[in-house]
Symmetry: C2
Subunit: 223 residues, 2 copies
Amino acid sequence: LLQFQDVSKSYHRGTEEIHALRHVSCTIEDGEFVVVTGPSGSGKSTLLHVAAGLDKPDGGKVTFRGTDVFQFGSRKRARFRRRNIGFVFQFFNLVPTLNAVQNVSLPMLLDGIGKTEADKRAEDLLVQLGMESRLHHKPNEMSGGQMQRVAVARALIADPPVILADEPTGNLDSEAGAEVLAVLKDAAANRGAAVVLVTHDPEAAQIGDRRIAIHDGNILAAV
Amino acid sequence: LLQFQDVSKSYHRGTEEIHALRHVSCTIEDGEFVVVTGPSGSGKSTLLHVAAGLDKPDGGKVTFRGTDVFQFGSRKRARFRRRNIGFVFQFFNLVPTLNAVQNVSLPMLLDGIGKTEADKRAEDLLVQLGMESRLHHKPNEMSGGQMQRVAVARALIADPPVILADEPTGNLDSEAGAEVLAVLKDAAANRGAAVVLVTHDPEAAQIGDRRIAIHDGNILAAV
Ligand SMILES: Nc1ncnc2c1ncn2[C@@H]1O[C@H](COP(=O)(O)OP(=O)(O)OP(=O)(O)O)[C@@H](O)[C@H]1O
Ligand SMILES: Nc1ncnc2c1ncn2[C@@H]1O[C@H](COP(=O)(O)OP(=O)(O)OP(=O)(O)O)[C@@H](O)[C@H]1O
Ligand SMILES: [Mg+2]
Ligand SMILES: [Mg+2]
């Protein structure tokens, strides 16, 4: 479903070159739940951004169902991303002027789903994540972990075939964290989504089918 | 050193009243390391913001060495905070236009310490936290956990008597997280700082002298 073929990505600062990803190859199938772990700064967020077509690699190819994600221009890539990828950002990227339900329902509205249905599904998901008392709060009226759960719900609402979750439990206690992992696991197990979970939490790392360890831009193991 | 006397804080949204803190009383002494745990949304960040004089309570009193923190106007309170409190924010609050060393040295420069000395201390602290290869990167050239470590270093650099750390390891792997906990523990043990660590990490919760559990704005236990 989603494949990296010898993908490399560097950042340049003056004369310095930082190799964020080095010759990364891996394949993720429908319904698979892959956990990515590695030290802070090792390239995990970069991996997810390249997978989503947000960051262009310097070498190699990223394909989705065989199609090169970066053959499209940025507008077409954005539409591809909206339809196929649910992304839980490490720092959420919520719309500050919208409340929880509005933030979560946005992907469905953009897909042309009616407001009534989109809002209903947004509320159901938020309630599943323990957010029933905060449905109409805006981001600046929420705690860190509440914002994180809104970001998780937004990534899942349109039932995308690929879900990329960047440390989605970093601001959550064990109970709220377990709810997040449950909805991610359910997406893979019951709706056939390919899920890539980046996490520092050793407990969360247990729930995948397979684990990829990344270190200094290199994939060390695909277990 | 730092004392809450029957502190309450509410937010009002239309007719709804959210009790973020309910009649909280506690005392923290010099050199004490207190860990605060509790579910997402239970009031931990609010507790720290009120302790730092950033958020005014609706009831009760916060004192620092016997002085009411909120008797000052906001400008004088800001100066009090800069001199006495090192705050690691849940979402860092770094200056986007400054690099790591510049962000960390800022509190010392504001205190009138010379640039050479401030930069040296900033670098030492950053190296201690594994940041030696990222000293001159700006926030948008760093990973999430790298930004978090810069925020930690900034809170510690001026050796403040009170350190308030809001989930300072949420974006860190276990090794980088252990480095953060070590510098916090050292500040309490060897420099007499009163440290309040808010964390969701059960491992981190072990390192305090005392633990406070908060639930729906109530302090449940001061163990
Ligand atoms: N614009 C940039 N310029 C230079 N270096 C960068 C830039 N953006 C990221 N980096 C570096 O690339 C490396 C990989 O970053 P990435 O955000 O993928 O790490 P990560 O594994 O997600 O870390 P964390 O667990 O801390 O979130 C980091 O070491 C970071 O400093
Ligand atoms: N401006 C606001 N208006 C209404 N409610 C608010 C506002 N700011 C915070 N809250 C609510 O106050 C409660 C306490 O928030 P706080 O940020 O202290 O929680 P927390 O314990 O730090 O949570 P987390 O672990 O998720 O960071 C939350 O339930 C939040 O929704
Ligand atoms: Mg990251
Ligand atoms: Mg918080």
